[in-house]
């Protein structure tokens, strides 16, 4: 009997990928947005169905072209991929739904079909990384999503995006190449590209130098793509000068997909086989995570550009995710993964609010938003909610991550107390940099107080508030992300000896 739901993982990738060229060719031009949004929404529905299936305990391994696993390409979905699929497709759908007016101002009409095609390719690439169980296949999807992202970032009218995207391109290529070198070495030693097969076969050659070198290349390459401190240099300007709706999409998911891959590769292949790998993993990542959290928050504290401030905050938040993961414990991983979800919500809301501001205010220096709350109360209201979530105020999604992260840290003894101090200090720094914006927007008199700004377009505003309310909903009823994360953490921890 053919069970159609078995095909969901492949549909998740293939639909946006096939729709991309169609969108590029569509006439009339204005139809492109509609097609891309519909495709993206459909992808979101598939992700929801996959998640329901994962909850029901369905096994989603899928052999492409019916070639059996180690020889053909295998797809597989578990709780970890499911939560990331939800983030990626959800962010894409919401950003596209919200962003029509904003994108119309940012991107020339002629180029729009290509822009939406690139968007769908990026979506397909990221989904592909998430459903694939084959190391080389993942590399291909990684390149698809990366190339498409470069196009997205560069497609705005702002010429400052070009040097930013060039840096992004160079760094991204180095990261991908490192990853490719790593899997090449592993293929050399084991003769397989299938992750599950690799886990079994690598055991026999685990003490050989090439495997250790491969582990180094893969970890660093993926850390570069995930903007783990100090390899984050490409991120701030990319986020700052990309069209804001693109920033919403990228900030919510692009680095998280790389983090996902880093964790999955490390825990599935290296943790069970390399001697003392869990300790090395902690020793390598924990200091970097702590530095990311403290230094990036401090930079955000002094940043004068609103978008760049939020970008540095993202670097710090990636540090939180890494901190949770680097504890190599069940609660720690749960905290890290649940923070992927919650940070996507919080940062998505903040960047959507920025997109609302962008429809009325040309630049993003902090002084440009002074008094914005007078004329755009709904926009700034959503910004406040997103900001509270980022700080981790109870009742918002961000608080759930903080709760798990602090619980996980307290389980680590003396180091844990120091980590709690780091988390607390950086939360307070987040409070300071978010509140700075709130004070400027609410209490300063507008620069040009004679001009009354109009509130952002209703569709964009509705999407922003959907995201803002999701922050509150998942702060009070977090069972969905928490159960997915803890089941993902269990899967990962099963591979740790």
């Amino acid at each position: 009997m053919v069970n159609w739901s078995q095909h969901l993982p492949v549909l998740q990738v293939i639909i946006p990928m096939l729709c991309a060229p169609l969108v590029a060719l569509l006439q009339p031009r204005s139809f492109a947005w509609f097609a891309a949004t519909a495709t993206s929404l459909f992808a979101f529905v598939i992700a929801i169905m996959i998640t329901t299936g994962v909850f029901a305990g369905q096994d989603y391994s899928y052999n492409m072209g019916s070639w059996p696993a180690p020889y053909g390409i295998e797809l597989g979905v578990d709780a970890f991929s499911a939560i990331l699929l939800l983030i990626v497709t959800g962010a894409s759908a919401l950003a596209l739904l919200a962003g029509r007016s904003s994108l119309d101002t940012d991107i020339e009409t002629d180029r729009q079909p290509f822009f939406y095609a690139a968007w769908l390719l990026a979506l397909a690439g990221m989904s592909g990384i998430l459903v694939s169980a084959d190391a080389f296949n993942i590399f291909v999807f990684m390149e698809i999503s990366a190339l498409a992202s470069y196009v997205l970032v560069a497609s705005g009218g702002d010429r400052r995006a070009l040097p930013a995207v060039f840096k992004y391109l160079i760094m991204g290529t180095i990261g991908a190449t490192f990853y490719l070198i790593g899997i090449g070495l592993i293929y050399l030693m084991t003769g397989t590209l299938n992750l599950a097969d690799m886990e079994l076969r690598i055991h026999e050659v685990a003490d050989q130098k090439p495997i250790l070198v491969a582990a180094g290349f893969i970890t660093i390459g993926l850390a570069l793509k995930a903007a783990v401190f100090p390899l984050h240099m490409w991120l701030p300007n990319t986020y700052t000068y990309a069209p804001t709706i693109v920033t919403v999409f990228l900030a919510a998911c692009s680095t998280k997909v790389s983090l996902y891959l880093l964790l999955r590769f490390d825990f599935f292949v290296f943790q069970p086989n390399l001697v003392n790998h869990d300790i090395q993993f902690s020793y390598y990542l924990m200091p970097l995570a702590v530095l990311a959290i403290l230094i990036a928050s401090a930079v955000a504290l002094f940043e004068q550009n609103l978008k760049r401030m939020l970008a540095y905050s993202s670097v710090a938040q990636i540090g939180y995710i890494m901190l949770g993961a680097s504890l190599v414990s069940l609660t720690g991983l749960t905290a890290g993964i649940v923070h992927m979800f919650n940070h996507a919500l919080a940062k998505g809301t903040l960047f959507l609010a920025v997109a609302c501001l962008a429809t009325r205010i040309p630049e993003f220096r902090l002084s440009d938003v002074s008094g914005a709350a007078r004329d755009m109360p709904w926009t700034m209201g959503a910004f406040v909610v997103g900001g509270l979530s980022l700080i981790g105020i109870p009742g918002t999604a961000g608080f759930i991550s903080k709760w798990y992260l602090i619980s996980a840290a307290l389980g680590e003894g003396i180091i844990g107390i120091a980590l709690v101090a780091v988390i607390v200090v950086s939360s307070l720094m987040a409070l300071a940099y978010i509140w700075r914006v709130i004070e400027i927007a609410y209490f300063r008199t507008p620069k040009n107080s004679a001009v009354t700004l109009r509130e952002a377009p209703p569709v964009l505003l509705a999407a922003t508030w959907t995201a803002a309310l999701a922050n509150i909903y998942f702060g009070l009823v977090p069972s969905l992300p928490v159960s997915l994360s803890s089941s993902a953490a269990e899967t990962l921890m099963r591979h740790v000896p």
């Binding site: 109870p394 759930i400 602090i406 307290l410 607390v424 939360s427 307070l428 004070e439």
Partner: protein
């Protein structure tokens, strides 16, 4: 209506009232204030309606949601919370009457926003009062901080913004930095943060760790204004007086000492803490705060700042009384929450009335003002007597119990502190009373004035009456306080 629904309705009511206030505020100011008053009356009806069940020994509870397994948003009414909720809801009504007089009398801007956030703050206060566990309490505690921020920053000028920043900075820093780790630590070691008679930490934690955890809690609860985290309280005196009166003499600060009392009784457990020497420092720091704040109050020239420092001292009375860890003293702590609320709100109302009528804010300007504003200053006198603890005021009753508890415990530090602070209280209030009633106003005042607007005078007369009434008719308050002690054997 059953009681567990009543809890949820009590929290939801002001939350529903708030958007209504915002909506009708555009139409008419009278309608807006009517909505506030109706909501306040309905809230009193709901909250006070639970009293008979509670006095009969019932403990209504309600589970709203399970956030993650083991961590719930749940409510449970117990005597201390009931006392606090009754206090907050009852005084909200009186304060709303007063606000109408004050805000109109001073032509304050953005009054709709004022009433809106006031309602949200009251909802958070009720939430704090009825919380069944640490998690829920923390949720509403933070909401209370955030919802009062716009009230403090009401005037929106540079000075107000600085003060509001101090307010938010100190309260959020302490709560995120110290209280949250303490709560998570408690959940980790005890497996639960439910407020349980007798405490949950018995046998789960020992030695200096107890003192450390207590420290995280005490200094994490910045709202209790224990020194050295008291700096926000004088700063927020820039807010309109109704805010200072209800929030910074009753709701916010009482939420602080209420939380401390609740944590000591229901998380640590009185007996557990009494047997543990590493927690003993609490009494000394509270005693120090009482004396130090009273000494600072002696030197204040501005009336509201003087009252702020007096509040800091009186809050530490509650903490010290709880830290004596004897049933009588704990009863005293609960009663003092009520008596101080009545007395201090009267004093703030009087100060606001003086400001509304004459724009005077400094003590030396008050010469002979008693003759111009006899009602206001009579109420002020009653409030001041209650602060000192002179019969027949409510302040005497609570001090009596605290004193009795201190003697029962043979705690000479506490006894000496009470005596010394009573002397200091008299030293800073009596000269003002003398100035008000017996000094002659030599320089002609800039503005001829009589009493403040009627609504303001009415409100402060009521609270002054309550201060006196608490001396004579304190049955239900003491009964609730006694139940609090009985339920923690």
């Amino acid at each position: 209506m059953n009681a567990s629904n009543a809890i949820l309705i009590a929290i939801a009511l002001p939350c529903i009232g708030a958007p209504c206030i915002a909506l009708v505020g555009r139409i008419s100011a009278n309608l807006r204030e009517a909505v506030t008053l109706v909501t306040a009356i309905a809230l009193i009806w709901i909250v006070w309606g639970m009293l008979p069940e509670l006095l009969a020994g019932g403990r209504p509870s309600s589970l709203l949601a399970e956030v993650v397994p083991g961590i719930e948003i749940a409510f449970r009414v117990e005597p201390l919370g009931m006392l606090f909720a009754m206090l907050a809801s009852g005084l909200w009504l009186i304060n709303s009457i007063y606000s109408i007089g004050y805000m109109r009398g001073n032509r304050e801007p953005d009054q709709t926003r004022f009433y809106f956030f006031f309602a949200i703050a009251i909802a958070s206060t009720i939430g704090v009062a009825f919380s069944a566990n640490l998690f829920t309490l923390f949720l509403f505690y933070e909401l209370l901080t955030l919802s009062t921020y716009p009230l403090v920053a009401h005037k929106r000028n540079a000075k107000t913004m600085r003060s509001a920043r101090v307010y938010l900075g100190i309260l959020l820093t302490t709560s995120i930095g110290l209280l949250l780790p303490a709560i998570i630590w408690t959940y980790r070691v005890a497996g639960s943060g439910d407020f349980t008679p007798g405490g949950v930490l018995q046998g789960k934690l020992e030695g200096p760790a107890i003192g450390l955890l207590l420290g995280l809690f005490i200094f994490g609860i910045g709202k209790a204004a224990i020194m050295p985290v008291h700096r926000w309280l004088p700063a927020v005196m820039v807010a309109p007086t109704p805010v200072s009166a209800l929030l910074h003499a009753v709701a916010v600060v009482k939420a602080g000492v209420f939380t401390i009392t609740k944590i000591i009784i229901y998380i640590f457990g009185i007996d557990f803490l009494a047997a543990e020497p590493s927690g003993a420092w609490l009494l000394y720091i509270a005693a120090f705060t009482i004396i130090a704040a009273s000494v600072v109050a002696l030197r204040q020239q501005n009336l509201k700042r003087l009252l702020a420092y007096s509040t800091i001292a009186q809050l530490s009375y509650v903490v010290m009384a709880t830290a004596i860890l004897k049933p009588l003293a704990v009863m005293g702590a609960a009663t003092h929450m009520v008596s101080h609320a009545f007395g201090k709100i009267t004093l703030f109302f009087a100060v606001g009335a003086i400001y509304t009528a004459s724009k005077k804010t400094e003590i030396h300007e008050l010469r002979g003002i008693g003759r111009r504003m006899p009602w206001t200053m009579a109420a002020f006198t009653i409030g001041a007597f209650s602060m000192i603890g002179v019969p027949p005021t409510g302040g005497f009753v609570s001090k009596w119990y605290i004193f009795a508890g201190a003697i029962e415990a043979d705690n000479y530090v506490a006894i000496a502190t009470i005596i010394l602070s009573t002397v200091l209280n008299a030293a800073y209030f009596l000269p003002i009373l003398f100035l008000v009633w017996f000094a002659h106003d030599e320089s002609p005042t800039a503005k001829e004035h009589g009493e403040a607007p009627f609504a303001a005078v009415l409100a402060l007369t009521i609270t002054a009456g309550l201060t006196l009434a608490l001396f004579f008719f304190n049955g239900p308050v003491l009964e609730l306080a006694a139940q609090l002690v009985r339920s923690s054997p």
